[in-house]
Amino acid sequence: MRRRTSLPSLQGRGSRGGCERAGSTPVSERAAQGVEKARLRLATHPRPLPCREGRSLLALLLACLALLASTPASAETIAITGGRVVVGDGSEPIDGGTVLIRDGRVVAAGAGLSVPAGATVVDASGRWVTPGIVAGFSRIGLVEVDAVDASNDVQANGSPFSAAIDVAPAVNPQAASIAVSRAAGITRAVVAPATARSIFAGQGAVIDLGGDMDAITRARAFQFIELGEEGASEAGGSRASAHVLLRNALREARDLRAPIGGGGSRQRSASEPPPEDLEENPYLLPDARRSDDVLLTRFDAVALVPVLQGRQLLLVHVERASDILQTLALKREFPRLRLVLVGASEGWRVAERIAAAGVPVIANALEDLPESFEQLAATQSNVGRMRSAGVEVGIGMINDDEARNVRVTTQYAGNLVAIGRVPGHSGLSWNEAFAAISARPAEALGLGAEIGSLRPGRRADVVIWDGDPLELATAVEAVWIDGVRQSLENRQTQLRERYRQPQEGALPHAYDRR
């Protein structure tokens, strides 16, 4: 199902002159809209106003007012008061706490905070207030319908490139899954491409799930590679080949030579960072030199330079205990690699060694079947056992409905609490379980100072829930992303309203719109 045979055509139709949409738009229009994505800085960006034609005047007015009222540029201060506040870093919830937001950032969260004069006060009494959920591994925004090839940008079987692939231009902020997931309290997601004809999938991004056109929180946040069964298959049939391909690729990146004079007065090698003031990457300049003895395209080799230098994370999907150890061993040869393990179903078997290496893990929460020979020891206790051994573990959805259904992340975390009551199992405490879907994945991606918790200075991604956020019956009541109140509407909620009464009235359902 995930396999692709052809590249979709990406034909942007251009934006509508600063008049972009908010959350809920019929899909037919979405499909007609091309992907338009610019590289964005890691900074608060002002949200555009939702003012497009085709909505009822009232809804339009309300939406515009709501956004106007909360646009960070207005320097508004918001105080969410009276709720049970979960900071998201593993600390105890604070009853009757206040979350203060200003200019799209968290000012403070806790008890006994005074509400500044002029602040917009949101009463959250009897509610839970948490940071938005961070989906630790996903393909959200890359897919509209998995089985519709043209709407699926997860992988590129026909591409000549691998490591150079950058998902950022493919992320569609108006994919239905973004609005649907946002309504379930997911505010940020790690978005990875999938491998096609190489062990290198390419560079993934961290995105927000806001209802505007600017989704990218950090482009090229990491390189994603496969080193287990999948990697062996992409490498021609064996893990040994995958490891040689990896080493060769890093060697080709290391051996890149900037042109003499191009990056300064002397010849530079890729093992040292390029100078900050260079407009262009020196290894791509016209007279940059390179050995003839290479497998990778120049673009792919250049893309691996920041990995080699430790400036870009290397996310490695492995499941088997021995594959995990082989991955950790890469640090001996390439000491500057900043590794993150993805998957690691058998991580509990080598948990102490993962902890000793200081490598964080993004794991599936509930994998408990020997679905492959690299997951024979899979158990729902994996996350809890790794955590007990001192491993930093966040939860992701690895090959598990990761393009559309990251909204079950809270349910998964709740299950890890549940097994704590089953003898022999290792679960997580509630606080740790919540951190595993907020601060931990953010920290694993090097963004702990930006997202994933309500600690001061973090981006104001805040969710109000009508109960325990990990519980099945709980719903989201309000979501802010970067301090901007978000719509919780989507085409699913619209279909629900249309079919509240299945029988037609005076006119067919096609005339029923809210």
């Binding site: 079947l369 020979f373 206790s381 559309r404 259904n405 509240r500 299945p502």
Partner: protein
């Protein structure tokens, strides 16, 4: 090596042919002596399931959902000789010598029944050699039986038992074909053979599939069906052939046996229940008309993602809809999924079922029901927890034709019982103990009551909590 094996197989076949008196007779003379007509057994591959022994057991003080919509607080459930003996309030008599289990603060429900599983047919590990769930070789394959692919050593059965409280499941063939073959209902017990798992007396099912899968798979081979109208045309043509075959067989017992049409004739006889993979509302409506055209009944639409658009049609035709809580969008026909599908179907008076189609999902069907229930309540559909449990046991039992035997806690029924260590609609709850026919087959406090399949022996993680 391969050649040698093929030659050996041919030799065996020849020997068998020589040993077969019928084929000898045909080749020997033009005037064969009247051979005694062979009557196949009415139920080939019959169930050899035997209930495992269990002690008379009484659970007291628990919140009991009876599976049909009833609830008893501080309730008592008594199991004797593999059957439910009594379900009632705190003064329910408990036989002398019965094992007493304190269910205070816990919940008792009927075992969960999954109407849509491929456990055994697509087992773990999911390697090519284990891919036995779909005979994709033609769009009409009613002659294959899912039970003939079931690998009883699939570790997934034990996960469904221990984490999901699943005591009965239907294993279906896959959905590439319009007619995918016969489905089988299994008791979720570890066994050496499939026959030891077959639910005694349970009717078999026929898997049919609408929509994208058949037209994609066969259309991609430039053969029929390539369109939805092609799907319907080939289905109708096949039903017509089945009706004619059935008439011929009734008239002339010597009509050559056709195993494919035989399955369909048994559907027309009402002995096999139709389970129809069908996502879209408009296609379900067409299938209901087709059933009327050829005189069969559809017991259950599976993956009925758009059931909420036609709950009136489902109610009026007494057809169940089996649904996920929140799976959506993986293909076009799943694009219009909504979270309130299950409660909307229930609320219209139709038969709603939560199903899995997945070795992971089957471990959390109670949680899927809980999500749907909560979403329904938020849109104003008030359904009590104990009523929602019908989606997990009684309605699936009806759809499988086994409601007389299981699916609710009624005196005389099979003692398929789950004791949950809390509210089963909470994410924090797991099965504490699971009984099948009164035999304790899972106990979270007892590592000895945790099945370990042959495949898992000697592997990393053998016997671990899962």
């Amino acid at each position: 090596m391969k050649h040698r094996r093929a030659a050996a197989a041919l030799a065996v076949a020849l020997l068998a042919a020589c040993a077969n008196p019928e084929s000898q007779a045909q080749s020997a003379s033009a005037q064969p002596p009247p051979a005694p007509r062979y009557e196949p057994p009415a139920d080939p591959y019959p169930s050899t399931y035997r209930a495992y022994p269990g002690a008379p057991t009484a659970i007291t003080g628990a919140t009991v959902y009876d599976g049909e919509g009833g609830r008893i607080d501080n309730g008592v459930v008594v199991m004797v000789d593999g059957r439910i003996q009594a379900v009632g309030g705190p003064d329910t008599p408990i036989p002398d010598g019965a094992v007493r289990i304190d269910g205070t603060g816990r919940w008792v429900t009927p075992g969960v029944i999954d109407v849509h599983s491929h456990l055994g047919d697509y087992p773990s590990p999911g390697v090519e050699a284990h891919s036995d769930g779909n005979e994709v070789t033609g769009p009409v394959r009613p002659e294959v039986w899912a039970e003939h692919s079931v690998w009883p050593q699939d570790p997934g059965f034990s996960r469904a038992l221990a984490n999901g409280g699943v005591t009965t499941l239907q294993v279906l063939p896959g959905s590439a074909n319009l007619f995918g073959g016969r489905a089988v209902t299994l008791r979720n017990v570890p066994a050496r053979t499939m026959q030891q798992m077959r639910f005694p007396g349970a009717p078999r099912g026929l898997k049919m599939a609408c929509g994208e899968n058949p037209k994609r798979v066969y259309g991609g081979r430039n053969q029929m069906p390539q369109t939805r109208m092609g799907n319907i045309a080939l289905m109708r043509q096949t039903w017509q052939r089945a009706a004619e075959y059935r008439t011929r067989r009734a008239r002339d017992a010597n009509t050559p046996r056709d195993l494919a049409l035989e399955t369909l004739a048994e559907v027309l006889d009402g002995d096999i229940l139709v389970h129809n993979h069908c996502y879209r509302a408009d296609e379900m409506a067409i299938m209901l008309d087709m059933a009327r055209e050829f005189g069969f009944r559809i017991a259950n639409f599976h993956h009925a993602v758009e059931a909420y658009k036609i709950p009136d049609l489902l109610r009026d035709s007494e057809t169940c809809a089996s649904m996920w809580a929140d799976w959506w969008g993986f293909k076009m026909e799943a694009y219009d999924a909504i979270n309130e599908n299950i409660p909307l179907v229930h609320n219209a008076g139709a038969c709603a079922i939560v199903h899995s189609d997945d070795p992971n999902g089957i471990q959390r069907l109670n949680q899927e029901a809980a999500k749907a229930l909560a979403d329904g309540r938020r849109m104003g559909i008030a359904i009590a927890d104990e009523v929602a449990w019908r989606w997990l046991s009684y309605n699936p039992a009806r759809a499988l034709g086994i409601a007389e035997e299981t699916g609710s806690l009624r005196a005389g029924k099979r003692a398929d019982v789950v004791l949950w260590n809390g509210d089963p609609f909470s994410v924090y709850t797991r099965p504490q103990q699971v009984w099948i026919d009164g035999a304790l087959l899972y106990d979270m406090n007892d590592p000895q009551r945790r099945p370990v399949s042959d495949f898992e022996l000697g592997q990393p993680g053998e016997g671990d909590v899962k």
